[in-house]
Amino acid sequence: MASLPCSDHTAAIQEMVDGTLGAIRRSELELHLDQCDGCRALLKDLQRIRDAAGSLDRLAPPDRVWLQVAGRLRQEGRIRAAHTRPVTSRRPYVLTALAATLLLMIGGSVLFLLPATRGARQAATATGAPASPGVQPAAQVQGNAASKDAVQEGIEAEFRLAEQHYQNAITKLEEAARSSEDSIDPQTAAMLQKNLQVIDQAIAESSAAMRSEPTSVTARDSLFDALKRKVALLQDTIALMNEMRKGNAAGVAQLVDGVNKG
């Protein structure tokens, strides 16, 4: 057993561990520590405890916590509609899709036409002839035709990426919902299941329409609308499970009401 620390030096030892002990008191304490095993042992132990405390791991909350928070905020109408509310009108989405399409077309055309122009200029330099801005070389006409296909492919790739983003979110939400599905009562579970089936059906129909008509804005609009509704419903489901687990009857009633209005 180590000898006891001196009670009149304990405060100074703690301040030394805190790093707040002034120079004079620190010198005095160091003189004392040279002679006192108990105080030296106390200082070492407290430093070890502080070092160990500072090295404790930062714990990360599971993803479902954020999903529950976002679901509740949306449910309580405390966030701007554009971010999470299911799209009830197609107009905003159509405008966004048009804007995205225009941007891609403009960006794609510029990017695609640049090499063609540069090629014509290089060819003109090689032959010594100036590249006339008023006359389109044959290579440039072909380049423009090819650019349309590329732009179209680019748009489709963007949409595929966006669809994948939704599908990934849905997968994560489904995993989170499955992890605590026991907390939900059978009647509510059946109602949620029914709503999900309706949305899944809409997703399947929109996907089929997309396959038969890949450039249809209406089909894309429907598909993304359905995917957004599924994300929103899954967020509500998780929030509902959480409220049921906590026994918050008022929160449950509010969420069930929202889901029913869906």
Partner: protein, 197 residues
């Protein structure tokens, strides 16, 4: 002497320069306007340290998840009251710690558990005479010992020694004087020494 954790701790950025404070206020303003993306940014920046605090205070990750959710919902409701006088991190710590202490008190009341207070502490310096005998402190042992501390000094210890807040900030978060924070942290360390020895 151990290197001062405060100089390297992430909390150094928390109390921040005026530019950081300006960025915080901008972020808060976006959250107030209902921008979910902004609130997710705020959540991602602070949820880790708040969740760690809650897990260690409550000793139960399920309760910690529930309270973390409650804390962020409460934060969203109270964003109008955030004036930027303290950092956003300190404001969130205060809000979360208050929720956590309320929860612990109601849990104690439900189970008729009597939590000991620091005034009832035995003579800690005497108890700690066992010491650690040159042993390193195992982190698992430390987590277990932390759970045995009275809630007041546990909160102060976690905020100061684990999370790296200064005593002044701990005082702000817990609504106590800076000197009281020092006293709580110091007593927590002595008690931990006794528990680990």
């Amino acid at each position: 002497m151990a290197p001062s954790k405060i100089t390297v701790h992430p909390s150094a950025a928390r109390s921040g320069a005026p530019a950081d404070r300006g960025a915080e206020l901008t972020l808060v303003e976006r959250c107030r306007q209902g921008d979910l993306g902004a609130f997710e940014e705020l959540y991602r920046a602070h949820s880790g340290r708040l969740f760690s605090l809650l897990c260690r205070m409550l000793g139960n990750p399920t309760d910690a998840e529930d309270l973390l959710q409650d804390a962020f919902l409460a934060a969203h409701r109270k964003l109008d009251t955030f004036r930027g006088e303290s950092s956003l991190g300190t404001w969130l710590y205060r809000l979360t710690t208050n929720l956590c202490l309320d929860h612990l008190r109601s849990r104690a009341a439900r189970t008729s558990q009597v939590t000991d207070t620091l005034d009832d502490e035995p003579r800690l310096a005497d108890q700690a005479s066992r010491g650690l005998a040159e042993r390193a402190v195992n982190r698992m042992d430390l987590e277990r010992a932390l759970a045995q501390l009275p809630e007041g000094c546990r909160a102060a210890f976690i905020l100061h020694d684990v999370e790296g807040l200064e005593h002044r900030e701990v005082g702000e978060v817990l609504g106590i004087a800076e000197g009281t924070s020092k006293s709580q942290v110091h007593k927590a360390r002595l008690r931990l020494r006794a528990l680990l020895g």
